[in-house]
C-alpha cells in the first residue's frame, strides 16, 4: 500500500504542476460562485433565470 501511495502522490503532484504551468492563470483563485448568475457552489444558474 505504501508503494501505491507514493506512486499516486508523485503522479498526482506531477499532473497538478503540469496543469498549472500549462494553463492560463486567473490571477487569483476563484469559486464558480464568483461568476455572475451563479446560484450554487458549482455555478448552476437560478431557476428564476430560466
Amino acid at each position: 500500500m505504501r508503494l501505491t501511495y507514493m506512486v499516486v502522490i508523485v503522479l498526482a503532484l506531477a499532473a497538478v504542476v503540469f496543469d498549472h504551468l500549462s494553463s492560463p492563470s486567473s490571477g487569483r483563485a476563484v469559486s464558480p460562485e464568483d461568476f455572475i448568475g451563479a446560484c450554487a457552489p458549482c455555478g448552476a444558474p437560478c431557476p428564476s433565470a430560466k
Binding site: 505504501r2 499516486v8 494553463s23 490571477g27 483563485a29 469559486s31 451563479a38 446560484c39 448552476a44 437560478c46
Partner: protein, 382 residues
C-alpha cells in the same frame, strides 16, 4: 471513526514517526504553496494552509460525519451529530453577517428542488457504503487508508457523471435560494440561523434520550468541532466563500477526462461560466481544489507524524466494491445536491441558507438505506 483503517494520531514516540511520508506531505504542500506564491496569489496559499489545518484537525479529532450519523440512526447516539452542529454554529457566527455585509464575500447558496433532494439522498446512501463523506474521504485517503483512496477515485468519476446529469435535473424545476439574511438582515439572519441549529440540537437530543443513546460529544469532538469551525472561518476569509470540497473533485475528473480525449466543453454544465473557467484554467485557481490538496497532505502529515504510514493490508474485495459503489453515488449525488456534508450542509446552514437543512433531511434517509445495504458488502451496520 470514518474507517477502520485509519486511526488518529496519539502521543507519538520517535520511532513511530514515518519520516518518508511526513517529509513527502510537507514537501508536496511546500511545492503547491510555492507555485501559487510565484503567481502572486497569497490567498491561494492561505487556502492550502487552511486545508492543511483542516486535515490535521479532522485527523486529530477523528471527526466523522458518516460514523456519527450512522450511530445516531442505529443506536440513538447523538454526540457525534452534535459535534457537527458545533462546527456549523462556530462558522455561522462569521459567515452569515460577513457574507451579507462585506462585498466580495458570499454564502453557500443553492436552489431548492428535486435535484437537491435526489442528490442529497443519493449521497447519503453512498457515504454509508463508502464509509466516508466528502471531508471524510479526503482526510482518510490522505491519512493512509487505501480503501478511501479507492473511494476518492470513484467519487471523482461519479462527480463527472453528476455534472452531466445536473442540468436535466434542474429542468425539473425549483425555487431560488432562500437565505435568512435576505429576509431578516445580517444580524437577524444570524439569530435565525443559530436558533435553527439550537432547535436541531434539541430535536437530536430528544430523540437520543428517547432511544437511550448518549448525548454528550467526546472531548475531542468538541475541541475538534471548535477548531474546525474556526478553520472554516479562515477558509471563508481567504476564499470569499464557505469551504467546499466536491467541486474540486469534479474539476479533477473533468480535466482527466479531457486529457483522455473526452470533450466535455459542450456539455451544458461545462458551459456555465464558473465550471467553464475551472476547466480551462489552472487547477490551482480553483478554491475547492486548493483546500482539498491541503487537507490531503495535512492528514498525511498528521498520520505520518504519529505512526508508520499506510502499513495496513488492503481490505477484502467486497469491501472495496462497496467503496467503489459508494464513491460513485457520492460523486453523482454531490453534484445534484450542490455539495456534500461540507459544501451543502455545513456551508449551507452556516450561511443561513435553507438548502443546507433540506440537504440534511434528505441525506439522513439515504443514510438509512445505505446502512441497510452495508451487510451485503460484508460491512457492519454499526
Amino acid at each position: 471513526m470514518t474507517t477502520a483503517t485509519v486511526t488518529a494520531p496519539q502521543s507519538a514516540r520517535a520511532g513511530d514517526i514515518d519520516l518518508l511520508f511526513l517529509a513527502t506531505a510537507l514537501l508536496a504542500t511546500g511545492v503547491l504553496i510555492a507555485l501559487v506564491l510565484l503567481d502572486h496569489q497569497p490567498a491561494s496559499a492561505a487556502l492550502i494552509a487552511g486545508g492543511f489545518g483542516l486535515g490535521v484537525a479532522f485527523m486529530w479529532a477523528e471527526f466523522s460525519f458518516t460514523a456519527s450519523w450512522r450511530r445516531f440512526l442505529t443506536r440513538g447516539d447523538a454526540g457525534g451529530l452534535l459535534g457537527g452542529l458545533i462546527v456549523i454554529a462556530v462558522a455561522a457566527v462569521a459567515i452569515v453577517p460577513v457574507a451579507a455585509l462585506v462585498p466580495k464575500f458570499g454564502g453557500a447558496i443553492a436552489p431548492l428542488g428535486p435535484s437537491l433532494v435526489v442528490g442529497a439522498f443519493t449521497f447519503g446512501v453512498g457515504m454509508q457504503l463508502a464509509n466516508g463523506c466528502g471531508s471524510g474521504t479526503l482526510y482518510t485517503a490522505g491519512g493512509g487508508s487505501g480503501r478511501m483512496l479507492i473511494a476518492l477515485l470513484f467519487f471523482i468519476i461519479g462527480s463527472v457523471f453528476g455534472s452531466l446529469s445536473l442540468p436535466a435535473f434542474l429542468d425539473l424545476g425549483g425555487i431560488d435560494p432562500v437565505l435568512a439574511s435576505k429576509y431578516f438582515g445580517p444580524w437577524g439572519g444570524l439569530t435565525v440561523t443559530l436558533a435553527s441549529i439550537v432547535l436541531a440540537a434539541a430535536i437530536v437530543i430528544a430523540v437520543a434520550r428517547k432511544r437511550g443513546g448518549s448525548i454528550v460529544p467526546r472531548t475531542g469532538m468538541i475541541i475538534g468541532g471548535i477548531a474546525i469551525g474556526l478553520l472554516c472561518i479562515a477558509v471563508f476569509a481567504a476564499g470569499g466563500h464557505p469551504w467546499s470540497v466536491t467541486f474540486g473533485f469534479t474539476v479533477w475528473g473533468a480535466k482527466a477526462a479531457t486529457a483522455l480525449g473526452f470533450d466535455l466543453s459542450h456539455a451544458t454544465f461545462w458551459t456555465w461560466p464558473g465550471p467553464k473557467h475551472a476547466l480551462e484554467g489552472s487547477i490551482l485557481s480553483d478554491t475547492s481544489s486548493l483546500t482539498d490538496f491541503g487537507m490531503i497532505f495535512g492528514a498525511m502529515a498528521a498520520a505520518a507524524a504519529s505512526r508508520p504510514f499506510a502499513r495496513t493490508a488492503w481490505p477484502p474485495a467486497k469491501s472495496l466494491l462497496a467503496t467503489a459503489v459508494g464513491g460513485l453515488l457520492m460523486g453523482w449525488g454531490a453534484r445534484l445536491g450542490f455539495g456534500c456534508n461540507i459544501g451543502a450542509f455545513v456551508g449551507g446552514v452556516s450561511s443561513g441558507s435553507l438548502h443546507g437543512w433540506i440537504w440534511f433531511l434528505a441525506a439522513l434517509p439515504g443514510c438509512l438505506i445505505g446502512i441497510r445495504l452495508r451487510p451485503l458488502f460484508g460491512l457492519s451496520k454499526d
